[in-house]
Symmetry: C2
Subunit: 394 residues, 2 copies
């Protein structure tokens, strides 16, 4: 008696639940310290101290009816102003509070902007491999996700990107730094993407929106630069979340940036604000809005993730695993030795290693390893990874 | 270039914005103390002290990665268990953690359950007047809201309720205590509603879900009892929010109750959990989940609202306004003297009184007065209400 559209989702969710249950079973059987769970993108680094201090300060000095009350569906005006100014300092942009819409995380923001833009049948392009939820978010509004096939190095490539457009293309989603690959797109790639987009806008005589999903923006290594896309393509809308930069994924706090120069700006902002309301978000959680405004310059310790990255990447390469060294996020996207990612995940489980098949991200033949875990767990897991590789060496 | 479905919403939202701007203009012109804003359902009573104490206690004693981290999409298991037990104590039910799904407020919960249940074209019945967002929430999933016309006393009536069903009816939404009328349904009314529902389930040979939207459950006066609907009709799903009971509307924290005995229970729970994820809520805000679990027995001062109710209701009746004395929520639903609610709201504005036309709630001919405001503002507003009535007396 549930909706027909939900039936397949429920089947899928029981697979995930089975995986979760299996993890618990393994932990019960072998002890939690002997199970190596690399499946979840749940930050392992504590939020910066400013978060706790800010929340307590707010609770002790501001009125409860204000701090926990309703505000505009777009969020507190002063919070949006502080965030706009912080972006301007960092990226040389010139946003004001009207360009910022506070959202229930980046997932909420993406749903809001897709509800705002999509008519049934509209197409949204993204690059494989990609965060699997994109497909669901687009389908929520009757849209169709169109996948650009991956290249060898997971770098967007102009020709295949251009080939994905049709007259139904309404938007493109780009995720940089990327989940699941950890790749950071260099400026030349961004420039190429913008060129294709401008050409296609002209060809089809309509706006095509670039949705930049950027929850991993601050998690970069080796001095990598993450381009701010509104500076490269005018019809860009940025979705951001504090889930990773402040380690607050459970709090569901983020924002959309809708620049003045975006096509049909006033309607997009108005519709997005309404969408925030009618989708049932209503507004981003109030106390957290006020807290992040006090922490715009705070950041988690990226060095902790970097240490994990260096240890795990270096060790796996030494064992013979194949993987591009990622410059961002907290994932390794590793080739399954025999290119069967599901079988490889099943085999890994025999050694108490929990991984996610690349197929989940439209990237079959690979597995995602989330290294947002304890450094010591990585150390303990290395003999298991070695044994796992042994099964494929013969 | 926004979605066609959003165009009308944007038009509607500019009307609301115009109202908001008008309120600001009046405050600037006449001074904020001379403007009487009764338009918003934003709690005026401070959250109970336990809320602040609990949050600070959690921040100081629990790990940040746990308190602010991801958990199951359904919410923290211990939080759900505490809430289930609290419901059992209050209502003699026998829920467990599996029956509770933590949501981003009641608005999030309603969207989750409608996404779970509705196929395009499915009908959802509700009683006029009703919270206007129901229409939008149902439309989000391709459903159609069917309105049962109001009775004189705004009490559901079996015959017109039964007449609203068709073979496409999938669910019924009931809001008790009611926004905008403040009416609390007595047990006999609930029993009648349940009887009709059971009859219709039999007639159409399928489950029809009763969705009980209960954010105002604790705001009742004169010792009124609010029946717990799962005890009267087995296919009941309850949507709850702490927005009013703990004065936390901005925090977006609530839950769904999905009892074991609900038709297709396992699929409904699984699908609702997936819906929570793919609609972009992901999970209810984590710190607030942990906080409300520590405050299950806390309540705001209902007496403060009651004092407002008595003063405003008594005064308006004395002036000749017509209104049923409400036993719940924090609204009066007052008859527009000449039955033109929009004109009455415009006239009220001339006296710096801001009200919401009943048409917004499918209740034309009435206006909603939200008395979740300062007692002193009510006192100051009384001469203005008197003058307003004067315009209709002649």
């Amino acid at each position: 008696m549930i909706a027909k559209s939900m039936v397949d989702y429920v089947k899928g969710s029981s697979v995930i639940r089975a995986m979760f249950e299996e993890g618990k079973r393994l932990a019960d059987k072998y002890g939690v310290e002997n199970v190596y769970d690399f499946s979840l993108g749940n930050p392992s680094v504590e939020p910066p101290a400013e978060v706790k201090d800010s929340i307590i300060d707010i609770l002790q000095n501001e009125e409860g009816t204000y701090v926990h009350g309703y505000m505009s569906n777009a969020g507190y005006e002063d919070v949006r102003d502080i965030i706009a100014k912080s972006l301007n300092r960092k990226h040389g942009t010139s946003f004001g509070s009207d360009n910022i819409l506070m959202t229930v995380g980046a997932a909420g923001g993406l749903n809001v902007i897709l509800k705002t833009l999509l008519d049934p049948g509209d197409e949204v392009i993204t690059f494989s491999p990609y965060f699997g939820e994109y497909k669901n978010y687009v389908a929520n509004y009757g849209g169709v996700l169109v996948e650009v096939p991956p290249t060898e190095d997971f770098m967007p490539e102009a020709e295949s990107f251009a080939a994905a457009f049709t007259e139904k293309t309404k938007a493109v989603i780009i995720n940089n730094p990327n989940n699941p690959t950890g790749i950071v797109y260099p400026e030349e790639t961004i420039v190429q993407i913008a060129e294709v987009l401008y050409k296609k806008e002209k060809e089809y005589g309509k706006a095509i929106y670039l949705i930049a999903d950027e929850p991993y923006r601050e998690l970069v290594y080796d001095g990598a630069e993450v381009c701010y896309l509104t500076r490269y393509y005018k019809d860009t809308i940025v979705g951001y979340s504090y889930s990773k930069s402040l380690s607050l994924p459970g709090e569901r706090i983020g924002y959309l940036v809708i620049p003045d120069e975006v096509n049909d700006f006033e309607n997009v902002v108005s519709a997005a604000t309404v969408a925030n309301r009618i989708l049932g978000f209503v507004n981003a959680p109030s106390l957290m809005q006020r807290a992040v405004a006090k922490c715009v310059d705070a950041e988690v310790s990226v060095e902790t993730y970097n240490r994990n990255r260096e240890l795990l990447y270096g060790s796996l390469i030494e064992m013979g695993y194949e993987c591009i060294k990622p410059q961002g996020a907290f994932y390794l996207f590793v080739k399954a030795p025999d290119e069967d990612d599901k079988a490889f995940c099943a085999k890994a489980k025999e050694f108490n290693i929990l991984l996610v098949p690349g197929s989940t991200f439209a990237g079959p033949g690979y597995v995602r390893i989330a290294y947002c875990v304890d450094y010591d767990m990585i150390k303990r897991s290395l003999p298991a990874f070695e044994k796992l590789m042994g099964c494929y060496r013969q």
